[in-house]
């Protein structure tokens, strides 16, 4: 109450506070369009430039000020050039309609279900990781980098026994197939049945560490299992797998 009456009496303070908050909000919203790590780097660089400019101005360091001012003035163009891919992606994500996103989501799950169904029928072992909010990169070993659209043909061909990268996991991040042939950390849970194969142990191990959804096709039985949070859901037929994936994988994790 005291604060409110003080602010009303000193409208300038209120104006400044509003100015500050709105500026912060605009910067934060712009930063959110980028990847967090990238946003941190850019914000730190801009902070250093603005702080340097203020310090140079305060101490009347004309040459240093000239350097900082030049960097600041060109920072928008420089940032736009360096991060053009991210900016393009951010704007594309911004203007893309929700309907289109839903179609993409549906496409991804349909492709996965179709591929897993085919592999299960042929009893070809498979291990597919769908990243959700927590990045899985730091838990992956080896692997071949791929940047491709998720298609049932691609997934099936990766897991064919004569494929050089069939013996590992396929990683799907932000709706794209980013890696194949990755080794995952095995579960350290002693209560797990000894009959559980390495592929299943790897699926369980990763799902215990991150919130990813891991799909496993058994090479021996052809059964399809899904691991989330160290818990296993098994004997899934294609419709059940599709239903489960639609429940587990939200739109925001595949855009």
């Amino acid at each position: 109450m005291v604060l409110m009456s003080y602010l009303l009496q000193n409208i300038d303070v209120l104006q400044d506070l509003l100015d500050l908050l709105l500026t912060g909000l605009i910067i934060w919203r712009l930063a959110r369009l980028m990847k967090t790590v990238l946003a941190l780097r850019i914000l730190t660089a801009l902070l250093a430039l603005v702080a340097g400019h203020l310090l140079a101005r305060l101490l009347s360091l004309q040459t240093v000020r000239l350097i900082f001012d030049t960097f600041l003035a060109s920072s928008v163009v420089v940032l736009a050039v360096i991060f053009q891919t991210d900016i393009r992606r951010a704007f594309a994500a911004l203007i893309r309609s929700r309907a289109v996103k839903d179609v993409e989501m549906s496409d991804l799950i349909d492709e996965l279900v179709f591929a897993v169904g085919g592999l299960s029928q042929k009893r070809i072992g498979a291990l597919i990781v769908i990243e959700r909010s927590i990045q899985v990169d730091s838990y992956l070993a080896v692997g071949t980098e791929i940047d491709a659209k998720v298609t049932s043909e691609l997934i099936s061909s990766i897991f064919l026994p004569y494929s050089p990268i069939h013996d590992g996991a396929v990683i799907i991040q932000r709706g794209k197939l980013t890696r194949a042939g990755c080794f995952l950390p095995l579960t350290q849970n002693f209560e797990v049945s000894k009959s559980l194969g390495t592929r299943h142990r790897a699926a369980m191990g990763l799902s215990e560490l991150v919130d990813a959804v891991v799909i496993v096709v058994s090479e021996e039985t052809g059964t399809v299992s899904v691991f989330v949070g160290g818990k296993k859901t098994t004997n899934l037929d294609p419709p059940a797998l599709g239903k489960l994936l639609r429940r587990l994988v939200e739109q925001r994790w595949i855009k």
Binding site: D16, D19, L20, L21, T23, G24, I26, I27, W28, A31, R32, T36, V37, A39, L40, L43, T44, L46, L47, V50, A51, H53, L54, R57, L58, L59, S60, S133, I134, Q135, D137, S138, V210, D211
Partner: protein, 131 residues
């Protein structure tokens, strides 16, 4: 990356955004024009040989300076001085006004008022040294 680390990074982005906004706001606010009153010491230089000061000059001048607040803040930190060049002075009474140049201020700063506005000095010839 763990969930905790991801949350920490998001918090760091928020904090940096607010910090950057704060610095930008500070930068804009400090560019607004303001005024500051300073006590500026008077320094006499280049006293001609054979002349002596017969009157006591004021120790300090009260100077009001206007300009961007950030430069005024810097001026407060650094301080200023009033240099009086007596190289062309002759014996007798002389009055010196204090133009901006005497204070060695930033080009964007302006001297609004000086008190006293003029410095009056009386110079006398020094008696020759006894042989």
């Amino acid at each position: 990356m763990t969930e905790a680390r991801a949350t920490d990074q998001v918090m760091a982005v928020r904090l940096l955004s607010l910090l950057l906004a704060g610095l930008l706001w500070l930068g804009v606010t400090l560019e607004h024009s303001g005024e500051v009153k300073l006590q500026v010491p008077v320094v006499l230089e280049h006293m001609p040989a054979g002349l002596l000061l017969a009157s006591t000059p004021p120790g300090v001048l009260e100077v009001t300076v206007s300009g961007p607040r950030i430069l005024l803040l810097g001026l407060r930190l650094r301080g200023a001085g009033c240099l009086l060049d007596l190289s062309g002075a002759q014996a007798g009474a002389a009055s010196f006004s204090a133009p901006d140049g005497n204070f060695s201020l930033d080009r964007e700063l302006k001297v609004v008022r000086v008190f006293p506005s003029a410095i009056r000095l009386t110079l006398v010839k020094a008696a020759p040294a006894p042989r």
